[in-house]
Symmetry: C2
Subunit: 191 residues, 2 copies
């Protein structure tokens, strides 16, 4: 019927996500996106309407990856406190692993754009809700298992942990592993 695409959309979105993640939205130019994805600027604008559209898709992709990771991580064996602490630690370790501290794309985006842009604000909210829901479920299960004090409100504690995670991913830009791990220990002490 017509000439087929030479590239896979999802792969392009993945690479674009990396570029946005490392440099931020404003500081990533179409030229950089073309270089990062390996396709011409023209093809990019043909496949995706605009830089903003591509960014929106990259955010969705990030959401999907993050939601699955949380799911997997929280399904591991162990007490609630151990599992939750392990989840937070793995996030921090991922932050510290790379040569450049890119943090969390959702947090970066929230800081850079959510204050001005309601659509972005909603996207970030959705992502947070996914994590909060996963944490809530795991804590509720802990309560059923007798693993967590019945006084703990699963949803409330999950929101508190969400806030801790967001903090950690910013703090990871300027602090070392021991301090971050101490913070995690404090945060899960109530479980």
């Amino acid at each position: 019927m017509a000439r087929p695409r030479k590239f896979d959309d999802d792969e392009v979105i993945d690479r674009a996500m990396d570029a946005f993640w490392t440099n931020g939205y404003f500081n990533t130019s179409p030229a950089q996106l073309a270089a990062a994805t390996g396709i011409g600027k023209g093809s990019l604008y043909n496949a995706f309407t605009s830089k903003r559209d591509l960014f929106d898709r990259a955010l969705s992709r990030y959401d999907a990856i993050g939601a699955e990771f949380a799911e997997q991580s929280l399904a591991k064996p162990g007490t609630t406190r151990e599992v939750v602490a392990g989840f937070l630690r793995s996030l921090v370790e991922a932050d510290l692993a790379g040569p450049v501290r890119r943090g969390c794309l959702a947090v970066n985006t929230s800081v850079e754009l959510a204050g001005q842009d309601p659509e972005i604000q909603r996207a970030v909210q959705r992502m947070q809700q996914h994590t909060i829901a996963a944490l809530t479920d795991r804590i509720a299960r802990g309560r059923r298992d007798g693993d967590v004090d019945p006084d703990v409100d699963p949803r409330g504690y999950a929101e508190f942990l969400m806030n801790t995670i967001v903090g950690l991913r910013v703090m990871a830009k300027t602090n070392d592993a021991p301090m971050l791990h101490r913070i995690i220990d404090s945060a899960v002490a109530g479980l």
Copy 2:
């Protein structure tokens, strides 16, 4: 001897700080800075070497303001838990008050630049240390007053609170007051 400046440097820095705070570093142009400060672009570049230099000074100014606010706020009467909670609440309320959610300049800067720029990274660290020190002092005093459990490590808890604050100032971009206040309550429960 020579023609004197028509403007006060500190006032210009204050207004520049506001512009950077609202729009971020990359997304604030020299033209905007000129408009925000009320002086010509040429004068700006005469008085300050570069956009970056002006930003550095704005950061210093922000640090000074923040440090004094923390000092004042934590010196208020009340139990340690009350005073600390009041401090966090006042930060959150400031975030929610404005028409545009600009968050915390230090956090914004950390997210936007600290990953790539070691100088910025150190500046952010300094600011965090000021807040951590103020919180540590207040908690230590609480322990002496018999107000705080002796098992609490002042410095460790201060670091944890610092992380909570950073989280809150990001979460304030996408969440409402009740949730943020619940998070604060959870965070001070260990005091």
